[in-house]
Point group: C2
Chain length 353, copies 2
């Protein structure tokens, strides 16, 4: 029997609860498929700071690098927000992404027909939306030097080199080849030199994908078009901060940020996490929605382990659960026949698998 | 009779058409009020490049500085997009903002009940939305040094100094005092040092406005909350690029970007312009919506000239025109009794004034 090693980072807030449900579902999948998953837990985020004095202990990096994939919950919370920057949970996450060379962050937004009404956008605008944000994750203004704040002047540098742009562009074009063959590259080339290099480089890479249609859009316009007509997008290719903003905005299309998974790839080992945060305000109450994490686990099976059939099983189980009217509290008003706790819905999905 | 000098920049694309309608309406207002407006035209944008070899001739800056206010249409177009950066229309606009020291860009988003259906957001989400984006306009990554692109590496610097943040924070708090007394400051302080300085400085200024409630929000979350529940916002205070993105996104709330005016203030002379662009694809067809420009003219009367009554007249005329079912083509599907051309709707508003 094939065996994969999964590094598990549960993190802070609702992180542990939702990761537990994902593991429950994965275990159920394994019992029907011809592979096994071995989990090893690592600390990261606020909990790591509390226990180890650092948001990202070395053994976490090492453990992740030795695994076949990383399953990640969520990190952060007000409690740690006033710490010096180097000790904050977010700093640990950024360092982990960098250490694992996860330069490509894939954030799909698809509509579950059962939840069409949950969005604040009109159903007729949403029907058929199926887009993928490909966000560069270890460059741009998140990591650019020089950076600093001396109390009078604060500064950060948005920087990209050509190879950095090329490799993320390839990811976008290759994703598009498996989809509707359209890439919209988002930048602010009318103002920023770094965006001009971005645009020029993307144009060059596009020549290697003659079947893909490439368009360019300014980021302000993209923020508008995502609300005006999200259906126009197939793959959105963009840098770190623009991708951060646009993918969160795009998540509202699906009606709940509790539904959206993500995959971070590029290095030897991929990391899979929901795009939502650690929601400390609802932690421990059993009302968190684990679907985004379970969908992230499905992305892990598909993209990191190549277990397509197992991934399909999970996605189909989730569709059926939604179709049958099981909902967590956040979606109680949208077609719920039964409102479930975090563990209940996890168990039902595990059953349906 | 009081006389004000208005510098008029018609610009490119639909710019000339929509500015003409604004002037028509202003003239009508003057005929009922106790002041006169004298217009002086200046070239800027692509048209200035074509005639003078520069997107911002010196006489335009000088003329604006001698005026009581600047009324601005729109600039830009594909035709000039491949010019070296210094010759592009956008570069002229940024230089004009800088020369006039227009550090505060005010972008209100209010809902016209008659057009509730025009938005892709559900009416129940929109009802009662009334928010103001206060965007810093002559700092941040738009102007930060160093900047460059050598074909291998592209970079820009997001930089703010404390005094720059203080003065824009004052504008936001003072605006809030005239409104619902809530400021939401938007940044990315969990990642960026420049945002940490922004947040710390805004917190300090807040102490001078004890009646105003201040909250902070990360920009990714703000992009999401604007779609999820725009009613939660009164004044949004933010930097140049985040304000660019969020205000365009917020414009979708109103259903058409053709409705949103803006005021840029801070120096001796204010500049008033629609937030939409020059829309070269529909230029010269008589179908452009002049409402945003006419509303910008109303903001000019109110904020630059102190002619509140005259400003009210314009706003009431626009409400009545919408109520009576006159619509330009972009809004033809939303309660139109009569679809009007650009000049027709301008004339009707001028009549109603
Ligand atoms: C928590 C934060 C540092 C992070 C980011 O900005 O990348 C988050 O918003 C995300 O999108 O994963
Ligand atoms: C045209 C462009 C330079 C400008 C900006 O980014 O400021 C525009 O988008 C705006 O918001 O006024």
């Amino acid at each position: 029997k094939k065996t994969y090693k999964i590094a598990v980072i549960r993190g802070d807030g609702i992180g542990p609860e939702i990761v537990d449900e994902a593991i429950k579902v994965l275990d159920s999948v394994c019992s029907h498929e011809n592979f096994e998953l071995h989990y090893e837990e690592y600390l990261m985020g606020g909990v790591a700071y509390d226990f180890k004095g650092t948001p990202l202990p070395d053994e976490t990096i090492e453990g992740c690098l030795k695994a076949d994939a990383v399953l990640f919950g969520a990190i952060g919370g007000q409690k740690w927000d006033t710490l010096p920057r180097e000790f904050r949970p977010e700093t640990g996450l950024l360092k982990l992404r960098k250490s694992l060379r996860l330069f490509a962050n894939l954030r799909p937004t698809a509509i579950f027909d059962e939840l069409l009404d949950a969005s604040t956008l009109k159903p007729e605008v949403l029907k058929g939306v199926d887009l993928l944000v490909v966000r560069e994750l270890i460059g741009g203004i998140y990591f650019g030097e020089p950076r600093g704040n001396d109390g009078f002047k604060g500064y950060n540098t948005m920087v990209y080199t050509k190879p950095e742009i090329e490799r993320i562009a390839h990811v976008a074009f290759e994703s598009a080849m498996k989809r509707r063959k359209e890439v919209c590259s988002v930048d602010k080339a009318n103002v920023l030199e770094v965006s001009q290099l971005w645009r020029d480089t993307v144009n060059e890479i596009a020549k290697e994908y003659p079947e893909v249609t490439l368009t360019h859009m300014y980021v302000d316009n993209a923020a508008m078009q995502l609300v005006r007509n999200p259906r126009q997008f197939d793959v959105i290719l963009t840098g770190n901060i623009f991708g951060d903003i646009l993918s969160d905005e795009a998540s509202m299309i699906s009606g709940s940020i509790g539904l959206l998974p993500s995959a971070s790839m590029g290095g030897k080992v991929g990391l899979f996490e929901p795009i939502h945060g650690s929601a400390p305000d609802i932690a421990g109450q059993g009302i968190a929605n684990p679907l985004a994490t379970i969908l992230s686990a499905s992305m892990m099976l598909r993209f990191a382990l190549g277990e397509e059939k197992a991934a399909d099983r999970i996605e189909m189980a989730i569709k059926k659960v939604l179709h049958d009217g099981y909902r967590t509290k956040d979606l109680a008003n949208y077609g719920a026949k039964e409102v479930c706790s975090t563990t209940q819905i996890g168990s039902i999905i595990a059953d349906y698998v």
